[in-house]
Symmetry: C2
Subunit: 213 residues, 2 copies
DNA sequence: AGCACAGTACTAGACCGACCAGTACTGCGC
DNA sequence: GCGCAGTACTGGTCGGTCTAGTACTGTGCT
C-alpha cells in the first residue's frame, strides 16, 4: 500500500517496458508473449490479467511511447518565435528537430508502426495525427507569427511547414527507414544538412522572397 | 518447349507473381508458402525447387519489383530537360512523380520493405540505392543541365533534388505509410499539392533566386 | 499492537489447438 | 520414366487457457 504505486501498477509498468524493448527490437510477430513475460519478470498469466491480448498490449506500448514524445514539439516551435535572429533561430530549430527525430529509438518505433499499419490501422492514424500533423501544425502557427512580424513570407504556413520538414528530413528519414539505420549518420553530418536546408528554405520563404507567380 | 519461355521459367514467373501479391497484401510473416503455392497453381515442392527458402523467394520478389520500376526514372527526368517552358515542365514532372510514387501497389511494396529492413538489411539497402538514390541522382543531373542553361540556379543539384522530392512528397508519403493508405488522396488533390510545391521550389531555385547568404 | 482471515494478485508450468517451414512420398499425366 | 501436383508428415513455435499452489494486502477482532 502506502507510496505512489501499487504492486499491480508496478507490474503493469514492468510489462509495458519489457514489451516496448521486445517489440521494438524484434517486431510484432518476432516477439512472443513468453519472451515478454520473462523479460518483465512476470508470469504470462499476469500479462493476460492486465491486457486482454497481444494486440492490446502492443497498442498500449505504442500509445505510451507516442505520448511521451508528443509534448516536446510545441516547446521547440515556441523557441523559434522568441529567437532574436531569424536565421540563427531557424538553424537551431532545424538542428534540434533533426537530431530529435533521427534518434535511434524513435526511428525504430516509427518503423514498427509503419510495419503494422495494415494490421492495426487505428494506431498508425493516431500516431500520424497526434505526432506528425501536430508537429506540422505547431510549426505552421509559428511561421504564421513570423510572417505577421514580417520576418518570413509564408502565404500558406502549413504548406511552408511541410516544405520545411520535407526538405530537412527526406533524405535522412528515407535512408533510416530503408536501411534499418545500420550505419547512422553522425550528428555533425545531420547538422550540416540541416543548415543547408535552412539556407534554401529562407530563399523560398524569407522576407525578401519575391511573391513570384 | 520451343518458344521463348521454358516450362520451368514460366512456373518460376508464376511463383514470383503469386508471391508478390501475397507478400504485399499480407506481409512476410502473414504469408505462408502453401498459400503462395496454391495461388501460383504449383506445388510447394516446385517452389522449393526454384528457391531455396522463404527468405530467398521474398528477396526475389522485391528485387523483381524494384527492377521493373527503376527504369522509368531517367525517362521522366529526361522529359524535363526537353521541356519548352520551365514552369510547365517542372509541373508536369512533379505531377508524374507524384502519381507514380503514390501508386497503391508501390506504396504497399515500400511498406513491405521498410517492415523487413531489419530482417533483411541488404534488401532495403538495395532498394534505397537502386531506387531512391538513383531517382535523386537523375533529377540532380537534370537540374545541373538546367542550371547550365541558366533556367535554374542550383549550386548543389543533388541537394536541390532532395529538396524537390522532400517538399513534394513529405506529407503524402508519410500519410500513406502511417495510415496504410486507407483513404487515398484523389489524383486531383495530389496534383494540386504538386503544383504548389513547384511554385515554392522555383522561388528557391528559379533563375531569379538571389544567391543569398 | 498483534493476529486471523479473506480476497486478490502472482508464479510456474503444463497444456491445447492452430499454424507453418520444409521434407518425403505417392501417384497421375505427359 | 520424368516432372509435377497433391498430400501427408515432422519438428517446432506460439497465443491463449487452465490448474495448483504461493505471496501480498487490507480488514476487523482482541
Amino acid at each position: 500500500m502506502a507510496e505512489g504505486e501499487t504492486r499491480s501498477a508496478r507490474k503493469e509498468r514492468d510489462i509495458v517496458e519489457a514489451a516496448t524493448v521486445a517489440f521494438v527490437s524484434r517486431g510484432y510477430d518476432g516477439t512472443s508473449m513468453e519472451e515478454i513475460a520473462t523479460k518483465a519478470g512476470v508470469s504470462k498469466q499476469t500479462i493476460y490479467k492486465h491486457f486482454t491480448d497481444k494486440e492490446t498490449l502492443f497498442g498500449e506500448v505504442i500509445r505510451a511511447s507516442a505520448a511521451q514524445a508528443t509534448s516536446a514539439f510545441d516547446t521547440v516551435a515556441a523557441m523559434l518565435t522568441q529567437a532574436e535572429f531569424l536565421t540563427g533561430g531557424l538553424q537551431q530549430v532545424a538542428r534540434l528537430f533533426m537530431t530529435t527525430l533521427m534518434d535511434e529509438e524513435r526511428l525504430r518505433l516509427r518503423r514498427l508502426i509503419i510495419a503494422n499499419a495494415d494490421r492495426m490501422p487505428q494506431l498508425g492514424r493516431d500516431w500520424y495525427e497526434k505526432g506528425f500533423e501536430r508537429m506540422l501544425a505547431s510549426m505552421a502557427s509559428c511561421f504564421q507569427q513570423l510572417t505577421d512580424r514580417n520576418l518570413l513570407r509564408t502565404p500558406d504556413p502549413y504548406l511552408a511547414a511541410s516544405h520545411f520538414f520535407g526538405m530537412l528530413l527526406w533524405i535522412p528519414m528515407n535512408e533510416a527507414m530503408f536501411t534499418g539505420n545500420k550505419t547512422p549518420r553522425s550528428k555533425a553530418e545531420l547538422e550540416r544538412h540541416a543548415d543547408a536546408t535552412v539556407e534554401a528554405f529562407l530563399v523560398a520563404y524569407g522576407p525578401q522572397a519575391h511573391g513570384s507567380r
